[in-house]
């Protein structure tokens, strides 16, 4: 079954891709086998994140961008497009309503487009746990471009920056004062800004505020948030004093009328070229591989320790911690140093 699915994914069969994404979402052992098998076939797609506050028009923008990339233009051949659209899971019921397809009806019937709606399933960074692996499935399935539309995000949902090569931050006029814009968070992850609903009052002001924020930023080395840590991009290999830092361009758009989309497309393409020319792309891939390996080791180590721990012993330790007889650090050392911890896998 796994071999068949892998062959199907690599042949671009939509049913196989859809099935594989479900397996990845449900995190079974089969998912691991599939991801391992397709790994060497990934790394080709340009991954573009689209994030911004709820109701800022992310889905409609993705719809417009996908149409434009499908069509192609002078100098850009038409590209196939995968879309992952994430909506929040209800913390109360565990269910979700995924409504992003409503705004993407223009894309129906095009075999060069694959849209997958995804519930966040308790993940808080604006993505779902399975998002990065789903990107890989679409990448291996031959989609040239993969858009990842995050949960409506405000200030802290910055996980998209480590999944995407290019992050588009969507802002709308009239959301807050200048201080909102200079707070740490989502604005710092932007490679490209879209000020959407630019026909509304205050659009020019929103652009000015972003410009001002970028002016303040441009003096220091460029930094990106990565796994909650700040990484200095300028300090990396391939980056020299002669390569100019990327200044995120700001584009006014009216997504419902398709206005300003061409400029946004150009900016996304230009950012990819910048990443390639400066060696930044290689660096980002390496950073991503490092953080992923770290996460996998954490999960696997936890899994192994728990697999070798007696349930009653664990409950006893937890009780002791709760009664303040033992501290959690000593308890974890106890579990990690158990003599019978022969790694059977």
């Amino acid at each position: 079954m796994t071999d068949e699915l892998v062959a199907g994914i690599l042949a671009g069969q939509r049913r196989a891709i859809a099935r594989a994404i479900t397996l990845v979402e449900n995190d079974g052992s089969e998912a691991q086998a599939i991801l391992a098998a397709i790994h060497s076939h990934t790394g080709r797609a340009h991954v573009v994140g689209v994030t911004g506050p709820p109701g800022s028009g992310k889905s409609t923008l993705v719809n417009d961008l996908a149409l434009s990339f499908r069509r192609g233009s002078a100098g850009h051949p038409p590209r196939t497009v995968g879309i992952i659209a994430i909506d929040p899971t209800s913390p109360f019921s565990g269910g979700a309503i995924l409504g992003d397809r409503i705004r993407m009806r223009d894309l129906a019937g095009d075999p060069g487009i694959f849209i997958r709606s995804m519930a966040s399933r308790g993940s808080l960074g604006g993505l779902a746990w399975a998002t990065a692996d789903t990107v890989r499935v679409l990448d291996a399935g031959g989609y040239d471009l993969v858009f990842v539309e995050t949960v409506g995000a405000g200030q802290a949902e910055v996980d998209i920056a480590r999944t995407a090569h290019t992050t588009v931050v969507v802002e709308v006029p009239g959301l807050g004062d200048d201080i909102q814009a200079i707070k740490a968070g989502i604005l710092e992850i932007a490679d490209v800004f879209a000020v959407n609903k630019a026909d509304h009052e205050g659009a020019d002001h929103a652009v000015q505020v972003l410009q001002m924020m970028l002016d303040l930023n441009s003096s220091g080395p460029q930094a990106v948030m990565h796994h909650g840590r700040l990484m200095q991009v300028a300090a990396t290999a391939g980056q020299t004093a002669s390569t100019p830092a990327w200044r995120p361009p700001i584009h006014k758009t009216v997504a419902t009328r398709g206005e300003g989309i061409d400029g946004l497309v150009e900016a996304i393409v230009a950012h990819r070229a910048y990443l390639e020319q400066t060696g930044n792309l290689v660096w980002r891939e390496r950073e991503r591989a490092a953080s992923e390996l770290e996460t996998i080791i954490q999960q696997e180590a936890l899994h192994r320790v728990l697999a070798h721990t007696d349930g009653r012993q664990l409950a006893g330790l937890i009780d002791q911690i709760a009664r303040r007889e033992l501290d959690p650090y000593a308890a974890s050392q106890l579990l990690l140093n158990q003599p019978n911890q022969a790694y059977k896998g």
Partner: protein
Amino acid sequence: MPDKKIRVLIAKPGLDGHDRGAKVIARALRDAGMEVIYTGIRQTPEMIAEAALQEDVDVVGLSILSGAHMALFPRIVGLLRENGLDDVLVVAGGIIPDEDVPALNEMGVEGVFGPGTPTDEIVDFIREQVS
């Protein structure tokens, strides 16, 4: 954390624009812990079958009030089967006369739920059929 969820596509085929019932069902299924892909009104059979394929849903729920169900449902079920979605449960709601139900069941619409059906009944039916 990751775990298995029932995924449901709720779609309104045809030309009527009344989506209140579909939204009520979508919310009820969400509150029952399911992931509901809501595609909105005026969906063609092709759009519905394609969405069901890409989203790899367990269930397709069709809401229709226009009276065109005997024309549209066979096309939708046919396209689902053509796409290889043989195991997808198809249910329907809206204004569907009782005398049409046996024929719909026959063609693969396994549950038909008219106005006034308690939402729990639909949730239970889906859970039972999908597990």
